[in-house]
């Protein structure tokens, strides 16, 4: 598995992956929807698969002495690592952003603890739609990405609605008040749990799809 991960990062990553990782910086932009920067990472994951097809990555990988399921596992792990790193990079910028923009974010949810919980959930949704669908054919990439993107977008609209429609939920979610942020921690934890659980399901489903594919 270590070797396969090495292969993923050495051969399969796309330059935009590293570029988009820095898009945590976007959290510094005043009054800008915070989730957008994270969508770029989904885009770069799409690029990884796209260039993989161009480079005949699947052929290369399966002719190595490995199990087909491990090839999928390595790819899923790589994606998980990218997503985690993206979130880790974004956290300090969220803090900085909040401190230099004291008026708060008018374009969407404040970048608070709950926000990161929702980011985890968004990644989960993207992963489970895009990855298994890709491994059904290994050559169709646009359609899986379209569906993944739509799913990501729908969830995005849903959570943003929570902070647009004035209600008690809005006051609970759309704030950087430290006391309330502490109370938001369960949302973050649930986000992480969902992300992790969905990652396992995603991998299992993708691997079983890939097993059935004739390359």
């Amino acid at each position: 598995m270590k070797n396969l991960l090495y292969k993923e990062f050495k051969l399969a990553t796309h330059p935009t992956t590293y570029l988009f990782l820095s898009f945590g910086l976007m959290l510094l932009i005043p009054n800008y929807p915070g989730y957008v920067g994270f969508f770029y990472i989904c885009l770069s994951i799409f690029f990884v698969f796209l260039t993989g097809r161009e480079n005949r990555d699947i052929f290369f990988t399966v002719s190595l002495p490995i199990k087909k399921t491990d090839a999928v596992k390595a790819r899923c792990m790589m994606i998980a690592i990218i997503e985690l790193v993206q979130i880790l990079i974004a956290i300090p910028f969220a803090f900085i952003g909040n401190s230099i923009n004291p008026a708060g974010n008018l374009a969407g949810i404040e970048t608070n603890v709950a926000f990161f919980g929702f980011v985890f959930m968004m990644f989960s949704i993207y992963n489970i739609v895009f990855i298994p669908l890709f491994y059904k054919t290994t050559y169709k990439i646009g359609i899986p990405f379209l569906f993944g993107g739509i799913a990501f977008g729908l969830f995005y609209v849903l959570v943003e609605m929570l902070v647009w429609i004035p209600s008690s939920i809005q006051t609970f979610l759309d704030t950087t008040n430290p006391a309330i942020m502490l109370q938001q921690i369960p949302i973050l934890i649930i986000g992480i749990i969902i992300w992790f659980a969905v990652w396992i399901i995603t991998y299992k489903k993708a691997a079983s799809n890939f097993e059935k594919v004739d390359i």
Partner: protein, 280 residues
């Protein structure tokens, strides 16, 4: 010793099927896998490597079942599907550094000496190599992880005659030690005339011959003669008859040769055999 044995490999598609494909290869020999485009050569090779899931059949490498011992078998095989065309923008050394990690028996010294022997520059990118050089690079990789069986899908297609000859020469060099074996698919009969020890012939997903080259060629004769000689008995034995204004020409099995003075008999070569068999 048998290095490869394929038994009753079947794969069904909607419009095509591999039907009970069986053949075997002894250590130290070159087997040419021949057939027309679309006859099932690539599907067979992919099914053997389990890139395509066969509906049934077993593949044995050095006595081990491929399906059960995939890891071991893949160590012993160098599999090249139409030259290295993956990661064309990467340098050889990057690909090598990734590849070698997967093979416990990787031999760096051997790799370096093979690069020298094949005139490969590890600083070059894959897409800077000619088609022939790419095949050589993949051979260098396979030999460096001590593969004993090299399976190549159409390694000579797209090569000019000189590079093709060069590659076939290399094949013969590789098997001289009696330990390495090569299975390669091709539709170029002269490749086989030049270097194959054995021939496996596939037609419409079925193996119609698997024997040593000399026996295969001697099994057939070319016959020519006047159309009047074409009685039903003779016609039933002729393969791929072509009638023309001045007579007929056809292939026939040597055992079926008629004793008719007016029929001219000559030795057949692989190309003539293939053309006539496919004409049927």
């Amino acid at each position: 010793m048998e290095i490869l044995s394929v038994e009753n490999l079947c794969k069904n598609y909607e419009k095509f099927a591999l039907k009970n494909v069986s053949f075997s290869l002894d250590q130290g020999f070159i087997m040419g896998f021949i057939g027309r485009n679309g006859a099932g050569k690539t599907t067979t090779l992919k099914s053997m490597m389990r890139l395509v899931h066969p509906n049934s059949g077993t593949v044995t490498i050095l006595g081990k079942n491929f399906a059960e011992d995939e890891f071991y078998c893949k160590q012993k095989i160098g599999f090249v599907l139409g030259g290295v065309d993956y990661y064309p923008k990467k340098k050889l050394k990057t690909i090598t550094n990734v590849t070698k990690r997967f093979f416990p028996e990787w031999d760096d010294e051997k790799y370096q000496s093979l690069l020298n022997r094949f005139d490969l520059d590890s600083e070059k990118r894959i897409d800077e190599l000619s088609a022939g050089m790419r095949v050589k690079y993949s051979l260098a990789l396979a030999l460096s992880h001590n593969a004993e069986l090299l399976i190549l899908d159409e390694p000579t297609s797209g090569l000019d005659p000189v590079s093709r000859d060069d590659l076939l020469c290399l094949f013969q060099d590789l098997i001289e030690d009696g330990e390495h074996s090569i299975l390669f698919s091709t539709h170029i009969t002269s490749d086989l005339e030049k270097c194959a020890d054995f021939i496996t012939y596939i037609k419409n997903g079925e193996i119609i011959a698997c024997t040593d080259k000399d026996t295969f060629i001697e099994t057939y004769r070319l016959v020519q003669g006047p159309v009047e000689e074409l009685n039903p008995n003779l016609s039933s034995k002729l393969i791929g008859v072509r009638k023309h204004k001045f007579g007929f020409e056809a292939l026939i099995k040597t055992i079926d040769l008629p004793m008719v003075a007016r029929i001219e008999v000559s030795a057949a070569n692989l190309e003539a055999i293939m053309v006539h068999i496919e004409r049927e």
